[in-house]
């Protein structure tokens, strides 16, 4: 929490206590409530082709054991304080040396997370106004999870099975209720926090390996045709030619360090704080709202990359990369270090959404949400060094290095969701949505894709057994994710869940071919949305949860 936020929090709490003093309750116990859950989750990787190297898999992926606690205090009638925490123990031993076996932190690693911690004051300083300060999670929009107008908190995708998680952040919220059919919300978020990515995200920048552990390809950066041609020339230089003979790996004698991806983080300045405003309206069975957001996109966008090459004819004269001081492997003909930078582009978002709920059980509820996004332009840069110099044989380009092309144009674009949900009593539930623009899409060279997302659920035996089947289809590349699960309510508030998540699509970026059938550099646009390894592994899971 920043100093400014601390001061503001203390001042508001003090003001609230002073103003609401006479209404203080007799016993604190009546003003406190504690809830939470205990959950254990274990997952097993069912594939052996979506890992960093072929053959990796068929093993346990993770084990998480969570204790979630939510404490709510109502010290005064118009004051509420909430603390929501999570203690998580990771089931895998992380010790790798004798000294690490002495303590418990490596053998039994854990972390503590503060999800929410805020104070809410109602009816002050105006009777039709609320103030909330602290660490919060906001949810805007009427669509189901795919909310393009919801940008105040970045997404938390640390759990690949959970698309609803968000990264909490400190903020100041002012709510106004001038009439019973309209409300206005203003939110200021002083410091930007990026999205929490899944462990598999590093695969998005990983080299491609064959079964012998040799690198066979680079990750495709967002380059136009000339830039891709340049990388293809570099690949040809490293491999001795620009083409790949069947069954041969031209990069066999090339040593690659693990690609390094650095993030360009915005400074915690006032100019980089975020602001949102939303007006909500209610008209009979229809809720709708208009919103505006000024801030940054929570998912990173590629800004530049450097291929730093040292050749064997330069050993030992050059033993350091340009990009770092890492020593080279003199057994290899070439050593390559790949360093990339990613950043969080600024944006303005003008949003609108509505939801219609009918009292007729045969009529589904409809909702739609659209966001006009005015993005920051991002030019991607590519640099290539050979033995510390930009002069690379055969790499003459129309542009001088560093090469530049537009990755994100400044042109406004639209992300949208529209769909319906319908349920028949407690037995059956159906939700179908069209989504334009997945969570992480920002109209960069990958573009904005179109999706159908569905979820259906059937319940049996007085809801004791629930079968749910969900999934998403990318209409542009026909990749998909399927997510069936079955829940057994063992006792009230005690559940066992078994399920499976499976990705369909190409794991490698599509390679285009020239007229002679020679492979061209894989394109950034050719990535299969759900096929990419960056999405994670195909996993089966078993989860037990007790809620209190």
């Amino acid at each position: 929490m920043t100093t400014g936020t601390k001061v503001l929090t203390a001042a508001l709490a003090l003001a609230a206590m002073t103003a609401a003093g006479p209404a203080r309750a007799e016993g604190w116990a009546d003003r406190l409530s504690l809830g939470g859950s205990i959950q254990s989750d274990i997952r097993f990787i069912t594939d052996d082709w979506r890992g960093e190297r072929p053959g990796e898999g068929h093993e346990f992926e993770m084990n998480r054991n969570d204790v979630n606690l939510r404490l709510r205090a109502d010290p005064f009638d118009n004051v509420q304080a909430v603390v929501d925490t999570r203690l998580r123990y990771y089931g895998f031993n992380r010790s790798a040396s004798l000294p690490e076996l002495i303590g418990r932190s490596k053998i039994d690693p854990f972390d503590v997370q503060l999800n929410e911690a805020y104070v809410a004051v109602r009816g002050l300083p105006w009777s039709k106004m609320d103030i909330k300060v602290g660490r919060m999670i906001q949810t805007w929009g009427t669509a189901d999870m795919f909310n393009p107008t919801d940008n105040l908190n970045s997404r938390d995708f640390s759990d690949p099975l959970d698309y609803a998680g968000k990264v909490p952040n400190q903020m100041l919220e002012l709510d106004f209720y001038p009439t019973d059919w309209m409300s206005l919300q203003l939110v200021w978020v002083p410091v930007f926090k990026p999205a929490n990515l899944p462990p598999s995200a590093v695969q998005g920048f990983a080299m491609t390996y064959n079964e012998q552990g040799e690198v066979t390809d680079f990750p495709a950066p967002p380059l136009d045709a000339e830039g891709r041609a340049a990388l293809m020339k570099l690949k040809g230089l490293l491999g001795g030619s620009g083409t790949v003979a069947p069954g041969q790996n031209p990069l066999k004698d090339v040593g690659f360090t693990t690609p390094e991806v650095r993030t360009i983080n915005p400074k915690p300045s006032m100019a980089n704080s975020q602001f949102g405003a939303r007006a909500k309206f209610k008209a009979g069975p229809v809720d709708f709202s208009l919103s505006y957001y000024y801030g940054r996109f929570g998912f990173p966008v590629a800004a530049n990359a450097v291929a730093d090459v040292i050749s064997s004819d330069n050993y030992p004269a050059t033993t350091k990369f340009v990009t770092d001081t890492e020593s080279i492997d003199t057994r290899k003909k070439f050593n390559v270090r790949y360093v990339a930078e990613i950043m969080y582009p600024r944006m303005q978002v003008v949003g609108a959404d509505f939801a219609y709920a009918s009292e007729n059980q045969w009529v589904p509820g409809f909702f739609a949400e659209a966001a006009l996004i005015l993005p920051e332009r991002v030019d991607f840069g590519l640099d290539v060094f050979l033995n510390g110099d930009n002069k690379v044989p055969g790499l003459a380009m129309e542009q001088a290095l560093p090469y530049r092309n537009v990755n994100v144009p400044s042109t406004p674009f639209i992300k949208a969701t529209a769909g319906f949900d319908w349920s028949y009593r407690d037995w059956f539930y159906l939700n179908l949505q069209y989504v334009r623009g997945f969570f992480d899409e920002f109209n960069d060279m990958y573009g904005i894709h179109n999706y159908f997302v569905f979820a259906t659920e059937a319940k049996f035996k007085q809801n004791e057994v629930q079968i749910r089947f969900a999934g998403a289809l990318n209409c542009d590349d026909q990749s998909a994710v399927l997510y069936p699960q079955i829940t057994w309510i063992v006792a009230p508030a005690v559940e066992l869940v078994g399920g499976y998540m499976h990705f369909l699509g190409d794991t490698t970026q599509k390679t285009k071919y020239d007229a002679d059938g020679n492979p061209l550099m894989a394109t950034y646009q050719g990535k299969s949305k759900f096929g990419m390894k960056a999405n994670g592994r195909n996993v089966a899971f078993l989860r037990g949860k007790v809620t209190f």
Binding site: D379, P402, P412
Partner: protein
Amino acid sequence: MRTPCWRFLAVLATALLPGATACDWETDGAARLSEQYHPDTGADLLEETAPDAVADEGVAPSDPGETSSETGGYDLDPGEVTTNLEGLWAVRIRQLGTIAPLSDPYPITTPDYFVGTVEPVGTKMTLTFCNEIPVVETGDPELQFITRIPQALRDALAAAPVELALGEAAAGLPGQQQMWTWGLQDISRTDPMPTEVNAKVRDQDQDGKPGVTVEVDGTLAQGKRYMVKRVVWDLSPGTMSEDHLRVSGTLTYTLDEQPLGGDPEYLNQATPITPVDGSTFLMRRVGAMDCASLLAHLDEVFAD
């Protein structure tokens, strides 16, 4: 996938929101690379500003002494170099801009290639046109806009060389404005462009069509456009490299293009190009060069 429908909606929504812009925000990943790994050049240094060393070293397989027989003259080695501009030059004038053939503006790079000659103790450099190869960066390999200059037009433009004024005794290239027209005659820099065939329009490539004919190719349109064009370059003074092999500088420019017909007819529409900062020119002193050999070795000739 960017469908015209969504693009239309985005543009419409933007139009309905006065002042809705992205605040001219821009992150330049390439500039960051310059800052981090090219401290000598600086992030804002133009790409073509006077390299101290000739790029022959480490550049593609061209032997400076080699002459290509099939192209009738190709020799990057100028031999004994004079301190003035006397001699033969390969010239590239690269104009940067944006173009909006649909609704989105795309960056466009328009390099014009010439062979330049300066007579001993001459006062001008004569630029003989070789080709213009514009590149539109749509960011989508499936969406391409290609314009080609037919040989007849290349020949016609080459027959009317552009002349750049030089300093006394060809000592240097001073800053200057230069107008260059395609399919026009008797027109000043400020005259309105003809919107129909009149006395200012001439069939320069003599193909029976008004003005000049360029070929249009690409994803959405193929055919021919008949047009006239006027470009006015405002060249900075040229900077000569220490080895006197290169002259480089920057330029701003204004560009007027007026279509006068098309085959198919829908190509008879204006697609304005808006200049942006960063245009440059580069001249490389060569031993022997004609247009064919220049165009066949662009990467090597203009390598850094």
